[in-house]
């Protein structure tokens, strides 16, 4: 019986540790007492492209030495171990919401965090990091995810003809070229959700650092957090007026 009781005690303690490790993430309401061992981040996320679809942003713990998400392919030594969440997504459990935007309070482990992606696009080509300290409440500002269209492109309308074509051709139907997402980030303004009263006295603006690169762990497209505008050496596509370069061979066999 004593052995069983001891086993139950250890199992309970292990469960408690696991639960506390998993507990990081969005909170539905501001806790009356903030956990002094955790950090907090307040972020407002607008709908994707300003439409009806809620914006989704993912944050991950970052290893600045090896330049990757902790436990990633380039930084296996910084793995956090089994059961410890390396990323947090602002998807559900918001403090405030309306049809256009949601306000999230994220409970995070003290560490360096990176904005890993939005709407399935990983910002592997260049993103922003911020440091979360224990007991600190950061204001990340307002994030507006949107599609990073190339010049001259925009959303295509789903016409009746295209719908019929998709229904008839199924997997062989022509689908639009996938385009990555990007984030517009700005400081909180008067028209945004206000900072909750209980956090107002201790919240500080987050300091972002540029240049974080990492692997594609979200499984979708990749981009820079600020899109093609942030590219160091972008080359514009040739204009129609420009004479085409001489073809080296015909295109048919």
């Amino acid at each position: 019986v004593k052995l069983l009781a001891r086993f139950m005690l250890w199992a309970g303690l292990a469960t408690l540790v696991c639960v506390s490790a998993w507990a990081s993430g969005p909170l539905r309401e501001v806790p009356t007492i903030l956990d002094p061992t955790k950090g907090y981040a307040l972020v407002e996320i607008r709908n994707h492209d300003g439409g009806p679809q809620p914006g989704i942003v993912t944050f991950a713990r970052y290893d600045p030495v090896d330049g990757d998400v902790r436990g990633g392919l380039r930084s296996p030594g910084s793995s956090l171990g089994r059961g410890v969440a390396v990323r947090v997504s602002a998807v559900r459990r918001s403090l405030l919401r309306n049809d256009e935007r949601r306000l999230f309070l994220l409970e995070l482990e003290p560490d360096i965090w990176v904005i890993e992606g939005a709407a399935g696009t990983a910002f592997s080509l260049g993103s922003l990091t911020f440091t979360v300290r224990a007991g600190e409440v950061l204001d990340l500002g307002v994030f507006s995810p949107r599609t990073d269209w190339p010049d001259g492109e925009g959303p295509t309308r789903l016409t009746a003809g295209r719908l019929v074509g998709m229904a008839l051709l199924g997997p062989f139907a022509r689908t639009p070229e996938p385009r990555p997402a990007m984030l517009e980030i700005r400081r909180r303004d008067t028209g945004d959700f206000p900072v909750p009263d209980s956090l107002a006295s201790r919240i500080v603006p987050a300091q972002f650092n540029e240049g974080a690169r990492f692997g594609n762990y979200l499984g979708g497209l990749v981009n820079r957090v600020n899109g093609r505008e942030g590219r160091p050496g972008e080359q514009q596509p040739a204009s129609p007026e420009e004479p085409p370069s001489e073809p080296v061979a015909e295109n048919r066999d």
């Binding site: 979708g220 050496g233 596509p237 080296v248």
Partner: protein, 142 residues
């Protein structure tokens, strides 16, 4: 270095094989790029493209094994197609981010490169295109 060469070789194969059957292939060009930089860029972009995981396509249950097989077959085609589309988009975005432009080449040149049996010579030929100050072929959008 060996890893870069391996990735570069893989990139050559991928580049030449990626061409649709009825069209020609393409290559990335950045005038004056060094070989090591090109190799590292290609390796990084292929690594990112390798992380693509298209969402699972749920197929409806059917007690008819033939119907279930047919549905799974088409779902497999769709998923495979989506993976190729996403991988290609990742590769193109990544190379454009590094300052490369994409040029289409004709089938004759494609065949010429493909027929070079020596891996090192094939890489030399491809790198010649990639680093050329006067790229040949038609400029393609990202």
């Amino acid at each position: 270095m060996l890893k870069s060469v391996a990735w570069g070789g893989l990139a050559t194969v991928a580049l030449l094989a990626a061409a649709p059957a009825a069209a020609s292939g393409y290559y990335f060009n950045k005038p004056g790029v060094s070989r090591d930089t090109y190799m590292a860029d290609v390796a990084e972009c292929m690594e990112l493209a390798g992380g693509v995981r298209p969402a699972n396509i749920s197929t409806p249950y059917s007690p008819n094994i033939y119907a279930a097989g047919a549905v799974a077959f088409f779902a497999g085609i769709m998923r495979s197609r989506e993976r190729r589309r996403l991988s290609s988009a990742v590769e193109r975005t990544c190379m454009a981010d590094k300052g490369y432009a994409r040029y289409q080449i004709g089938n004759a040149l494609l065949r010429e490169i493909r027929d070079i049996s020596d891996e090192e010579q094939r890489m030399d030929r491809l790198f010649g295109l990639a680093a050329s100050d006067a790229p040949i072929g038609t400029r393609m959008p990202e």
